[in-house]
Symmetry: C2
Subunit: 372 residues, 2 copies
């Protein structure tokens, strides 16, 4: 199998796991946060900077790469690793989430999804088999199965119907996946916010033996409480000897609460997206560095941070860059936010190793200014 | 004096000079090319990358910094060096060129220029004295006098009138300049494309003793032949023991032809501007990397280049990034173009030291594909 999970220890205070995911391109310390490189680049970042901030794995998007530049071109370039010159692990999503987001421009059938490209309106047809072909061309260490990400809210009947189809598609994905030696296929648990469906989905997804499992369909508009509830009853259904990936989560509170519930992997565009708009995460909470109050503030964005941006530039300078539309502005805030999350994950791993992730949560929430 | 020029040797084949400019923030090997950081940042580049590509001095724009974030803020941040965290030499222009470019939104008087900000339409009044105050606040190692950059073409009468005013303004600049220990004021020779005016301007500008002199009003639309002619009769009027700066020039042919005529310093937005649009300078000539022909070209932009972009990424990948509007695209092409020019200047300096800049010109022009 391309990917193996090694459990190092469980936190005695919580359900959190300290572990390692072994992949063809190296080891990932878990719990981990994966920066998102939608179009074969983590926005504003170069690969050497991603290494500098400590990223051990990045995510890229099958839908976007299929549309542009095309998976065949990426394959010719030596897969995503060669194309973007990233020699550490990569995970590709299945395009499911993106395709469903096209709403009016897609139609779901049992066979697959017909959709129109957001770029040129060209019609395409994603089936589980075709998505596996695309992901095999991209060559990521971990590839996600083609699922349906149900919207929120979603009625029970639709959630059940959709979950069943996602299970049927998962079997088709597994059968179609051609490069099992070097690429690990992960299944995705769905079932919206219904306990019975989530548990059933988890059990039947796990019955399809795979190197890892994800929880999908969360962080799509529901409250943090609901998300935590779903994890509370879903994660126990997942095997202990496989990595568990909570899709689309990247806010500090959700990362900590996910880790506490036994999640090993996370991803989200949040840190880089808010960065480009001038918002950064700091040891004292969110800071909107583009705000006028920082115009003459010569402190670093985060005095406790060790990133290139915080070691070298002031809030006043970064605010100026962002106000002036200068590329370096979004670069510096992106570097910082990604480093902040890498440091947070390292802190989480340390707290697990010391059996004190519950205490860490309390301390962090107070420091960061969360109201609980 | 803040700045001293050291002449190392003259090329026996041409009039080119190998030298060093000594400044409060370090030594510049000349002939040199200065990347332009209009708004206190060389677009898309971080200071550590500027050092990596070998930039010894950068230029920044007084007009832009005055408008945003304001020179008083920059002064509070420790001047431009502190504000943007660049510890090597900086040159600031005077805002003259930018203010005149506002055309309908400015009025030139003997006292100075009234203009409206391109950002918010607010009225401002630049006088030689005020510009010196601003440039003193910015704190660059070299600051340019407030001159009038005449348009091209320009009739003799206006060019004469304007040149006289530029001379009167230069005296006012020299009188108003307050930080002569740490900042060197350079005068600017004008006179459009008229030999008599250029020579008169040069002689009378040099009479005003200053640490360096620039040739302004070129590269504004006239042909390369005219630009070379103007240098041919203007440069000999400039003193040998002071640096000579040709403003606004950055194409490889003009850099070589300027060096041959005894120019020591150049600047231009060209390399970074064309880079962001997907055009790069290579050892075999210009290459429009965003063109379809490079879609599946896995060679580096320039096989002979040693920059981070060329050592790590293919034309196909960079084309993809630029087509997709990804920040990394413009970053990589900017790194390359600036490195290309730094390497070119190093080659020019080597050719001068070997008394063969004339031969180098011939070889380079053939290799680059210039038709002469």
């Amino acid at each position: 199998m391309a990917v193996k999970y090694e459990l190092i220890k469980e936190c005695k205070q919580t359900g959190a796991r300290l572990g390692r995911v072994h992949t063809p391109h190296g080891i990932i310390d878990t719990p981990t946060f994966m920066p998102v490189g939608t179009q074969a680049t983590v926005k504003a970042m170069a690969p050497n900077e991603l290494k500098e901030i400590g990223a051990q794995i990045i995510l890229s998007n099958t839908y976007h790469l299929f549309i542009r530049p095309g998976h065949k071109l990426v394959e010719k370039a030596g897969g995503l690793h060669g194309f973007m010159n990233w020699d550490r692990p990569i995970l590709t999503d299945s395009g499911g989430f993106q395709v469903y987001s096209l709403s009016d421009n897609r139609k779901i059938k049992e066979e697959g999804v017909i959709f129109k490209s957001h770029l040129d309106g060209a019609k395409h047809f994603f089936t589980p088999e075709y998505v596996m072909e695309i992901e095999n061309s991209l060559g990521a260490d971990i590839m996600m199965a083609f699922d349906e990400c149900t919207p929120y809210p979603c009625d029970w009947d639709y959630a059940k119907h959709s979950m069943e189809r996602t299970l049927r598609w998962l079997k088709r994905c597994k059968d179609a996946h051609k490069n099992t030696e070097k690429q690990a296929l992960f299944g995705i648990v769905q079932g919206s916010t219904y306990k019975d469906l989530r548990i059933e989905s988890a059990r039947r997804t796990v019955e399809i033996e795979l190197p890892g499992y994800a929880i999908g369909g969360l962080s799509v508009g529901e409250s943090k409480e609901i998300m935590n509830d779903v994890m509370d009853y879903t994660v126990p259904e997942l095997p202990k000897n496989k990595p568990r990936y909570l899709m689309g989560v990247g806010s500090p509170d959700a990362l900590i609460d996910g880790a506490i519930r036994g999640i090993d992997m996370f991803d989200c565009v949040l840190p880089t997206r808010i960065a480009r708009n001038g918002t950064v995460m700091t040891s004292k909470g969110k800071l909107v560095v583009r705000n006028a109050e920082y115009a003459e503030d010569f402190l670093p964005m985060d005095e406790e941070c060790d990133c290139y941006a915080c070691k070298n530039f002031s809030r006043a300078y970064i605010r100026h860059l962002i106000k002036a539309g200068e590329i370096l502005g979004g670069r510096l805030t992106s570097i910082h936010n990604l480093r902040f999350l890498q440091n947070l994950m390292a802190d989480i791993r340390k707290a697990i190793s010391e059996d004190r992730l519950g205490d860490f949560r309390k301390e962090f929430f107070i420091k960061y200014g969360y109201n609980k």
